[in-house]
Subunit: 248 residues, 2 copies
DNA sequence: GTTCGGCATTGATATGGGTCAAAGCGTCCA
DNA sequence: TGGACGCTTTGACCCATATCAATGCCGAAC
């Protein structure tokens, strides 16, 4: 079983973005589809695109560190980025994975609140924060949209708090798989084949578990024919069962 | 030992807000000091104040339910509000406590992402979402400020994710007490006497623990002379020790 | 003042998930 | 082609926290 590169077949023009061209790294159009672009006119999108600069990071490269001065805003074009906070003794909590189309640093604060590290090789397009700010400042409609978007992010963070504080290991893993499936679905074709490019340690640090528990839970789900663990990912055999476990 | 009502001695004019009068429910000035008011001129603040409407809720009253249409924006003037998400089987995660000065519904989304319930009797000033939106829409500087504020909220949520996913019971309780102390400090005088108007169940649901564990942890901290449990609150005897436990 | 009801505390016990340790298993490179 | 390294899985055991069950405490109602 192979997984489609999630970034491979998407074009912003085919979705809710007015930018009528492929945005996946083609020469004249670097920014990828994103949730706020519906607020922009094609001309505005072109302008935004002109501000951007494509940048590549190998796996494990830091995009930025927690607490660092926030000099850039990034739009992930390809690959996966982990966002995390750490404790001095090394304990780590991954607060999210950024997939193609996601923005980093959109809070537009002085300093980054989390660290960002490439899980896979990553392509981003980068904006200088200053330029992005001045671009945004003249566009109240975009600002409104960004704010709404921030509210959505907050809501997701609160869901994750519920998951971390009140769910069992089984429920956590089930919710994670379904959530990832849904997110891949938004940037490619919805499929029962869910790539897991991140390590077990990453998954554990995202769900507040240990690698061993993640591994055991996956084999347990495999034994009950709910999922099938394959190289680099998971095939969801019974989304019903997963839904039941993850029950809202 | 008694606790000062945290709301009693604050005046926005003494802080970073340009509104040079007491904002604690006096007749001509209902809105309480809040983090975005620095972005507003006195005249704008007056206008905002004119839009508002004072409202009281008894303890345990719902201000709004999760998923309900977001008709209002609230500014808490007095009392404490718990914000939470629940699972169908009743498990609950409190995602935050709103203290005097805090806003509810500032994400300005269509629906509330969490439920809000009065812990103590609560006074708020209410804005209709529509009015608040149109008030805000003409003020890009305020919108920027609101967005920054949302970013800060997100950062707090991420801290809480780290706490829920990776900290022990002791660390959770220590961090909670220090955090609460700091927040009271912002609306009144910083004190080692930290009122705990919320129940142990609330604290447990905030920290991802059970009441018993919260209780045991507090008695453990009491035995080691780190805190002193008193009626309706806690006295912090060794913030050093608590800092050490909560170590960022 | 007494009783009642709702929380909080404490104790005894159970268990989900953590820890420690040892195999497995790919994959990359010599 | 093989060996070594890194990641994952599996197993055995343990412990932090949950669960279950009293008991204690305090404020409200009468």
């Amino acid at each position: 079983m192979t997984f489609a590169e999630p970034a491979a077949e998407t074009c912003a023009g085919e979705r809710d973005c007015k930018h009528g061209r492929s945005t996946n790294g083609c020469d004249d159009c670097k920014v990828r589809l994103f949730s706020v672009c519906g607020a922009l006119e094609p001309a505005e999108l072109d302008e935004l695109d002109r501000l951007s600069q494509v940048k590549n990071f190998p796996a494990k490269a830091m995009l930025f560190d927690q607490g660092a001065l926030a000099g850039s805003v990034f739009n992930v074009t390809e690959g996966i980025v982990r966002l995390y906070k750490s404790l001095p003794d090394g304990r780590r909590q991954i607060v999210g994975f950024a997939l193609p189309g996601d923005f980093l640093g959109l809070a537009l604060m002085d300093r980054y609140g989390v660290a960002a590290e490439a899980v896979t090789p990553v392509r981003v397009c980068r904006f200088s924060r200053a330029q992005f700010l001045s671009y945004v400042d003249g566009k109240p409609h975009l600002l409104r949209r960004l704010h709404e978007f921030a509210g959505h992010e907050l809501s997701l963070a609160q869901d994750q708090m519920l998951l971390l504080g009140r769910r069992t290991a089984d429920e956590k893993v089930a919710a994670f798989l379904l959530n990832l499936q849904a997110r891949y679905g938004r940037i490619g074709a919805m499929s029962v084949n869910v790539p897991l490019p991140m390590s077990r340690q990453d998954i554990a640090d995202y769900l507040g578990l240990t690698i061993e528990t993640v591994s055991r839970t996956l084999t347990k789900l495999t034994k009950e024919k709910t999922v099938l663990v394959v190289p680099d990912g998971v095939r969801l055999l019974s989304t019903d069962r997963l839904d039941q476990l993850a029950a809202a």
